[in-house]
């Protein structure tokens, strides 16, 4: 790449950064009850209290650092909200820079990546600055970025930190395992695994030592949650309820609005099975897609990188579809990786993801209490959103293996591709 092109790209990326800054600070509404909760955590940490022992925390330990950093900038709630917004913005911009690099390595158009990143941000809405899920999302991207550059140890390290911020990035660990095994055999996997385990241990150990019960409870409380109102299972029950085939009534739970229905308990109990099966399917398909590749081919193949990005996205989508809880901020996990998705179905995936994001924003915060009151349009919006999410999962898993024209651009793209 010559000097002029580098400068031009720097200007383009800077322009996008400024656009994100504008939207984050001028368009999105910051604050909210969750940010207040984070502020309270930060206050308690500042008072010298020990998490998990002296106060309950429902997140992994890494999240505490995320909550505490804005507190260093401002001790007041209002100032904290602003600082939190800027914290999310910084990670957003870091994500953007990594995205461009990762797209380049996978031979995906950088323009598409930047435009997709921005479109997705706008579609998701203010929840980007009202929750901290941007950070595990960007860490997922960070791990993928490091992987794409062949820096596997760094990738495992970032993945471990991300997992300790919110467990979601951990879904990628089996994919990294399979990829590295394919590249360099089982021996090459051991250092990465050791780093992953070691980093987690280093983060977790102090809290386990000082408050093991509280630490374990922070995980088990999630497992005991009933069927949440916005989950895929709940939307099926709500649909059946609207057809008069069962009863499905939203109720206020301890953490969220849940669904009371004859089948809700059973679905909540066995959802972990579906999560496991769904993820096994993703990992199995990824393994199968690599099976035909020779070891020395896998190393530098941009097609393999594209597959890794696709299956990473798919793993998170499948988790969201099969989990018994679906909070609106979960879409933020997909946001940094979404522009890297490629393949025959990319245009459809883009449209579906943007639509899902818009519908999620419609449901929360715009019409959440209409949903709780089971007003039909809001219920239908939820059903539509979750149907599209399931369809998205099928599309992602229906992509062909590399070596069989995986990343070929679909012929249907005409005007939009020409506008690039």
């Amino acid at each position: 790449m010559n000097r002029m092109t580098k400068v031009q790209w720097a200007v383009v990326v800077l322009a996008f950064c400024l656009l994100h800054l504008l939207i984050f600070t001028r368009v999105f509404y910051s604050g909210g009850p969750d940010v207040q909760g984070y502020y309270q955590y930060a206050e308690k940490i500042n008072q010298g209290l020990v998490a998990y022992r002296d106060f309950k925390v429902e997140y992994p330990p890494g999240a505490l650092a995320v909550f505490y950093l804005p507190y260093l900038a401002s001790g007041s709630l209002e100032g904290y909200g602003t600082a939190f917004t800027f914290e999310m913005l910084i990670f957003d911009i870091i994500g953007m820079l990594m995205l461009v690099g990762a797209a380049r390595r996978a031979r995906i158009s950088e323009w598409f990546a930047l435009i997709g990143y921005t479109l997705a941000m706008v579609a998701i809405g203010s929840i980007m600055v009202q929750r901290f899920d941007m950070i595990p999302g960007v860490m997922t991207l960070g791990a993928l970025f490091a992987f794409s550059r062949g820096n596997y140890k760094m990738a495992w390290c970032v993945l471990a930190i991300g997992t300790m911020t919110k467990l979601i990035p951990g879904l990628l660990a089996p994919l990294f395992l399979i990829y590295q095994w394919k590249q360099g055999g089982w021996r090459s996997v051991i250092p990465g695994l050791a780093i992953f385990a070691g980093v987690i241990l280093v983060i977790v150990l102090p809290f386990v030592v000082h408050g093991s019960q509280g630490f374990i409870a922070s995980f088990t409380v999630q497992g005991r949650r009933p069927l949440q109102l916005e989950s895929t299972y709940a939307s099926v029950l709500l649909l059946l309820g609207s057809l008069g085939l069962t009863s499905a009534v939203p109720v206020q739970g301890l953490i969220s609005f849940d669904l009371a229905s004859p089948a809700a308990g059973l679905l909540a109990k066995y959802s972990i099975l579906f999560v496991g099966l769904g993820l096994l399917l993703v990992y199995g398909l990824f393994y199968r897609s690599l099976r035909g590749m020779k070891r020395d081919e896998a190393g530098s193949s941009h097609e393999m990188l594209a597959q890794l990005f696709n299956y990473s996205f798919a793993a998170i989508v499948v988790f969201m579809v099969t989990n018994k809880v679906f909070s609106p901020q979960y879409l933020v996990w997909l946001y940094p990786v979404f522009p890297l998705v490629s393949g025959r179905f990319r245009p459809a995936i883009w449209v579906i993801y943007i639509t899902i994001s818009c519908l999620t924003w419609y449901i929360y915060p715009l019409h959440y209490y209409d949903l709780v009151d089971t007003r039909q349009v809001s219920v239908d919006a939820l059903i539509l959103r979750n149907t599209l999410l399931v369809f998205l999962a099928f599309l992602l898993l229906g992509e062909q293996a590399p070596g069989t024209k995986t990343v070929k651009e679909p012929a249907v793209i005409s005007a939009s591709a020409q506008a690039e």
């Binding site: 179905f345 519908l359 039909q376 349009v377 809001s378 239908d380 919006a381 099928f394 599309l395 020409q418």
Partner: protein, 446 residues
Amino acid sequence: MPNESSRLLLYRSITALGVVLAFLLILLIPQHMREGSDWSFQYATRNFSLGHLTEDGVNIGLEESEAHRFGGDLSQYVFVGDNRWALTEAPGYIFYLLPFYYIHAPELGSLVLAAGMVMVAYLLLKRLRDEKAACVGSLLLIFTPVALAMMQRIYADSFGATAFLSMGGGLYIYYCLRARELSKRASAILLFSAGFLLAWGAVSNYNNALVVLVFAVHLAFQFLRGLMKKAPVGVYPAMIIGLAVPFALLLIYQNAVFGSPWRFGFQYHQLPLGFSIHYFTNNIKFVSTALLVGFPLLLVAGYSFCAGVNGKTKTFFDGRQDAGNPEMLPELPLDIALLLTGWAAAVFGLYLNFEFTANYQVSGMPFIILARYYLPAVLPLTLAAVLLLTRVPRKLAVAVTALSIIWGVLFFAQSALSFPLVPPHSPYNPFSSQLPAEGPGVVLYE
């Protein structure tokens, strides 16, 4: 591998089966009186069948109280002076329904129109693409949730007016695609039928006149182009006659009912049924989700319109030919692509400025209440969606088609089985026969 004729038979059989399934769905769930227009049209049909285009105050009062007993109202009847009450809506659909009403089978009216609409769509898509696209398109058309739901509401004019418009518009486009192959006689019959059906669509729902205007503009364009290229234009008057006949009948009706051919029912009503750009933002907010639920292929169609028209316009100005380039939809001439876009734009452009659906109080109501106004655009949306679906990978096309059909059935059922306005023991409640008896004094209508 099956030969060509077996495949054709397969596609036609699938289409026929799909239509039969749609009919069964409509008939299995009994007629459901959801809104004021259903009640008004039902009573209007009865009144028209007795030769009463208007009713006096006493009779309308009796009908109103009878409807009210069963949870309905005659909000579409208005006072027009001289102790007379008349229907605000256009009467075309009621006149169409009368023969079926006389044989005590009003539901057949919807089914006949549905069959006609599917046949025209099949013919058109077969010409545009192939039999497979025709099969897919016909199924997607009939299983659109809003289409199924309104087909089931046999006294509401939405489906009827849409069907007339779709048949007329479809036949016109079919003629344009085959103009050079048809004889003068066949062309004249086709154009007359197209014009008549298009106009009857407007005579069944006044707001469809905007769509008819789009076709009129295209016809004028074709006529002028024919004159400039010295091509035969003698058949075009057949369409003008076809358009004129229903409008002439409408003027006669309006003169009889309102005292002047240029007066119509909406000039007397008090309901929030106006149009203004002020309502655009609220409509976007309140109606978008209802539209996505009611028209699952809306996004696909929207993308197809944008990509197709954009690509064709670029090609036009570049002077290139788009034949052979599948991305440019070569089977669809630019003027037809623009016509279809104009058709959809006329509907969406009008109703996105509609007062009633911009009202916050309707924003949480079932999707059918908001989305039914956009039903007249169902054929261009389906055509655009199908032309795109035939170009994407087969698995994706099959998945989208299957999902759309399942979605259509489920959301039709949801709409048909939810009754926010009808009391439990009303005979218009589909499940009223399964409820314990409420007590004496309930008089069944008819």
